[in-house]
Symmetry: C2
Subunit: 258 residues, 2 copies
Amino acid sequence: MNFKIAIIGTGNVSWHLASAFEDAGHEITEIYGRDIDKAELWTERVYQGEATDSLDFTDSQAEIFVLAVSDSAISDIADQIILPEDSILVHTSGSVPLEVLGYSSAAYTGIFYPLQTFTKGKEIDFHQVPILLESDDSDTLRKLKKLARSISPLQYVVKSKDRLALHIAAVFASNFTNHMVRIAEELMNRQGLDFEMLKPLIIESMTKTLELGAKRAQTGPAKREDMDTLENHHRFLAFNENIAEIYRVVSQDIIDSN
Amino acid sequence: MNFKIAIIGTGNVSWHLASAFEDAGHEITEIYGRDIDKAELWTERVYQGEATDSLDFTDSQAEIFVLAVSDSAISDIADQIILPEDSILVHTSGSVPLEVLGYSSAAYTGIFYPLQTFTKGKEIDFHQVPILLESDDSDTLRKLKKLARSISPLQYVVKSKDRLALHIAAVFASNFTNHMVRIAEELMNRQGLDFEMLKPLIIESMTKTLELGAKRAQTGPAKREDMDTLENHHRFLAFNENIAEIYRVVSQDIIDSN
């Protein structure tokens, strides 16, 4: 079952989703961009769909409208967009509740949230991307499941309440792991040491974390409750209050979860 | 140039190093364990070397003695060990200064620190392991470089002062990234959500971090300075003071380094 889909937005998620939908045989009818030039660039790359900078979709053939815009723009666009009868409006955000689509002209609403980090120009294998779905309407949910299944074997129905927890977990698992590496990089640079030295360790640790589970994989001074080393490290970090505080609270939590 | 090497200790580092030395054609003369049974198990697996529970190495043929024991045991063993003339004593720790070997009976001392996380039973490709070296004696340093080069193409001479910074950086890059994933796991479990959902995100984020550098790779609410989301997340985490505090200080540091 193929769908006619309009994509609202010209960011990374929009681009990756449009490509994946097209590869799966769906038809992209329109791509909306506030900046029409950007939308046209998109339609050239995706090969299908008409570029538009109008939110009036009265005459669109699409049945599913995918709002792939920044979190803060979702409710504004949802309020403005004019949709044909019986159409489904979904957004793609992990942190915006379904309710913000409630005042739109859409007959049905839902969430189609690909749980992945997207980078411009970097291919994503959608078969590895969990798609998190939500809708109050069972028929809509069925259609979203079909759409999700056509691009990924991993679909989960997740309620808004759980999606918040999941988004916070994703912040720890993705943004915060990244920031820990960033601090490591800063410490190395500050000391004139080559950050490359740490890469094999980072790769092996993360592999271990995912293989053994984070609890079993843990090592290091906090895990060993080696207070002398912890204090020594904390003292060394006195030049940067933030980093010293992060060292303290994360070490404490490792100790407390021993 | 092959060396005769005695290994002190029967932990993970000892095991991985002994195997790597043997594969590189060096001769393991003895393996010391406080628990002789454990040392014997080791010698059976490494195929070479005599198991011993005595620290009297007067009659040993080894010229390099590798102290691969826990940080807290290093100075005690260094003080007790009786070494043949002209021998080199090294320890393998990232956080213990060279000076603790100063009171030993060794003619020369040094550090031979493989910067990696070792897990029992999990093979390590030593060609991916940076070996950090230190010694006050240039001839000893030359020998340690040769020994390191025989098991890994990555060798660095790092002074104790820099090794401390490096060890702290490694704690952030390895232990703390692991702990961020652990918290993510807890949040998912608490909500009855399948942690598997997050694995593709974790793998893709870490790949991105290492490819683009952590600064460019960063995304998420703190990076966007999306205060509503940050506050919302912080409120959600109120059930666990430690985790809420970690969320706050790490987010703040992401904002401050924007």
